[in-house]
């Protein structure tokens, strides 16, 4: 037990402590042992490396966008270059970073450990989905290198099918392949959560992280195929002019949007739900308290997943869908906003009468709560059909989804990475500098994206390479913020790599968290557990944890 009052971190005596051997990293060596592994933890690390790579490519593109928008004229690059840049930024960030970010890395690593299983149900499929992901990613990069694509990530027809001559088919195929990667990840999670739970691990003893991933997986499995078929039809339309989306031949371009958004709206929840799972874990651990209203939070995840399928047409309010449809979809959109509100308040009240410390993951979690609240509320502005008319297709919408995706998901991702870093690598990250990074990220983020709300209200359209001069001031703010944000993202990479060698030895459970993953060595064995765990207590049961401790002490003394 530690007596320090500002932290719960409880590290073994550094003089004697060693990284436990063997562990899943040191077990086998050589590139092949990684490329052919079936171990969910190794695959998670493969994913972590690759999505970080793609994140920084997407980030670089974002940097270019902000630089271009520093001045009202299109001077840094020609408009068509700019179009290609923001298109690739969107495609890479959404399909190659946000969708797999938390599920494929932390989810992959932790779900089996949290439910007390040795591995995911289908290790080969798990590895396959990483290869599909890489194939998709490389194909996308290839498309970018060889001329790029300038349709916007939404591939709006008939623009994408008849009016551009860039690599639409290659990019479309890349997304198609990456889509199957996420289908198989989701499928694997559902099967694992159903079939691989340890004895005593009932549904309502699952960590909320697992619930969130279960909900997200349902969306992946049921939504992604529709995107796949929509993309296939676009490719056919381009290749053979089949006319299904071609107004000249009697096709309806809106049909594409229906199919596209049937996936791409739930995709937003695919991206945010796992993040919410992370936040539940972090907040509970650092306030030493069971999550307030466990069942409500668990079911709100499922509710989001279910309602998520009923709201897609709110992306088309002004695009000529019938006014009756507008009414229905607007109403349902309002309903889907409620579960998110429930989560936020439940997290807030988890702090109540807790015993709170402020390590980096907790700071990121606080950041998440603030930014996600703003992101969510502004979503309601767009869900209400009236204000949507003025705000949609402007920077308001850009700011809105960046608050949810970057402010929400990315914050959650970083929170999770810091929280489980000791478990993954066996070493602690440096606390002070990482707290600094968290603060920098938060400041930089707000400076970048808050001005964009105002720009949107003023009416500045999205996807503009040049804009009327009166918008410049706010754009300069935004670009300045982006620079700070960039620093905020580079820092973690540096000190996390540093910590691989110099970080303090973490021990099994530095945070004294309750999850099963913390009750085994870190980094874990390939089989995760020496003996099959039996879940004999509720989730987030800190009394149970204390009793375990006293037992150990007793047996030791």
């Amino acid at each position: 037990m530690n007596n320090n009052n500002n932290t719960i971190v409880d590290l073994p005596d550094q003089a004697t402590a060693r990284i436990p051997q063997p562990n899943f990293i040191s077990k086998e060596n050589g590139l092949m042992s990684w490329l052919l592994t079936g171990d969910h933890k190794r695959i998670a690390i493969l994913y972590l490396i690759s999505i970080t790579f793609f994140f920084f490519i997407g980030g670089a593109l974002a940097g270019l966008i902000r630089l271009e928008l520093l001045t009202p004229q299109a001077d840094l690059m020609a408009t068509d270059t700019y179009n290609k840049v923001f298109t690739m930024h969107g495609i890479i960030m959404i399909f190659l970073f946000l969708v797999p970010s938390v599920p494929a890395t932390l989810g992959n690593f932790l779900i089996p450990m949290m439910i007390g299983a040795k591995d995911l149900a289908l290790p080969k499929v798990n590895l396959l989905s990483w290869y599909l992901y890489m194939a998709g990613g490389i194909l996308a990069l290839y498309a970018m290198m060889t001329g790029g694509v300038d349709t916007g990530w939404t591939f709006t027809t008939p623009l994408s099918t008849h009016y551009v001559n860039t690599n639409v088919i290659t990019t479309g195929f890349a997304i198609f392949v990456a889509g199957f990667s996420s289908i198989f990840t989701g499928l694997n999670f559902i099967v694992t959560i159903h079939k691989m739970r340890a004895p005593g691990m009932t549904w309502f003893r699952l960590p909320l992280f697992v619930w969130a991933h279960y909900a997200a997986s349902i969306l992946m499995v049921l939504g992604t195929p529709v995107l796949a078929i929509a993309i296939v039809l676009v490719m056919l339309e381009r290749a053979f002019g089949i006319g299904v989306f071609d107004p000249a031949k009697g096709g309806d371009p809106l049909l594409f949007q229906h199919l596209f958004w049937f996936y791409s709206h739930p995709a937003v929840y695919i991206m945010i739900l796992p993040g919410m799972g992370v936040i539940s874990e972090v907040i509970s651990t650092f306030s030493r308290k069971r999550v307030f209203g466990y069942t409500a939070v668990a079911f709100s995840s499922v509710a989001i997943a279910v309602f998520g399928f009923f709201v897609w047409a709110h992306h088309m309010f002004i695009m000529g869908i019938s006014n009756y449809a507008v009414l229905v979809f607007s109403l349902l959109t309002m309903l889907v906003a409620v579960p998110s509100a429930i989560k936020i308040f439940n997290w807030a009240f988890t702090l109540y009468k807790g015993s709170i410390t402020f390590e980096t993951p907790m700071l990121y979690a606080f950041g998440f709560m603030g930014l996600f609240t703003i992101g969510g509320m502004t979503g309601v502005f767009l869900g209400a059909s009236g204000t949507d008319i003025h705000l949609t297709e402007t920077y308001f919408i850009v700011a809105h989804f960046h608050f949810v995706m970057v402010g929400g998901m990315l914050m959650a991702f970083l929170a999770g990475i810091h929280f489980w870093w000791p478990k993954i690598t066996g070493r602690m990250y440096p606390e002070k500098i990482s707290q600094l990074a968290a603060v920098v990220t938060f400041i930089g983020f707000n400076l970048t994206f808050f001005p964009q709300f105002i720009l949107g209200v003023l009416g500045m359209p999205r996807r503009y390479a040049s804009y009327p001069p009166e918008f410049q001031v706010l754009n300069v703010f935004s670009t300045a913020g982006a620079t700070i944000l960039g620093v905020g993202y580079l820092l973690p990479v540096l000190y996390l790599i540093w910590s691989l060698k110099y970080g303090a030895i973490a021990g099994n459970n530095p945070w004294q968290a309750t999850g099963l993953e913390w009750q085994t060595q870190s980094p874990p064995l390939t089989e995760n557990f020496t003996v099959m765990p039996v879940m004999d207590h509720e989730a987030y049961d800190y009394e149970w944890l204390e009793s375990q401790k006293t037992k150990e002490v007793a047996s030791a003394g």
Binding site: H194, K195, R197, P199, G200, M201, T202, W203, L222, V226, L255, H258, F262, F309, F310, A313, I321, S322, N323, Y324, A325, V328
Partner: protein
Amino acid sequence: MSEQTKHAEHEHHIVGPMVYVAILLALLVGTALTVWASFLELGPWNPIIALAIATAKATLVVLFFMHVKYSTKLTKLTVVAGIFTFLILVSMTLADYISRAWGSW
């Protein structure tokens, strides 16, 4: 839902050839029926009957050839979930297209 309890309740049922033959015949009869019906002039009933028969055939295949009749609740739930989401996609998209014709404000 945990493993032990599942094993207890889960008993793998082997469907015998007689059942399969029966289903095969039923399916063939269904096919004959639906083709015959399609030659009659039934106006709006043509598609309804055709789809009804198709659904009946599909149900037979799912229940017996695919053993769903004898499988766990989970499998049944999975099937239902699939149908449900499919119906959302079709019905809500069609709802937009049909209501467009009702004229706009």
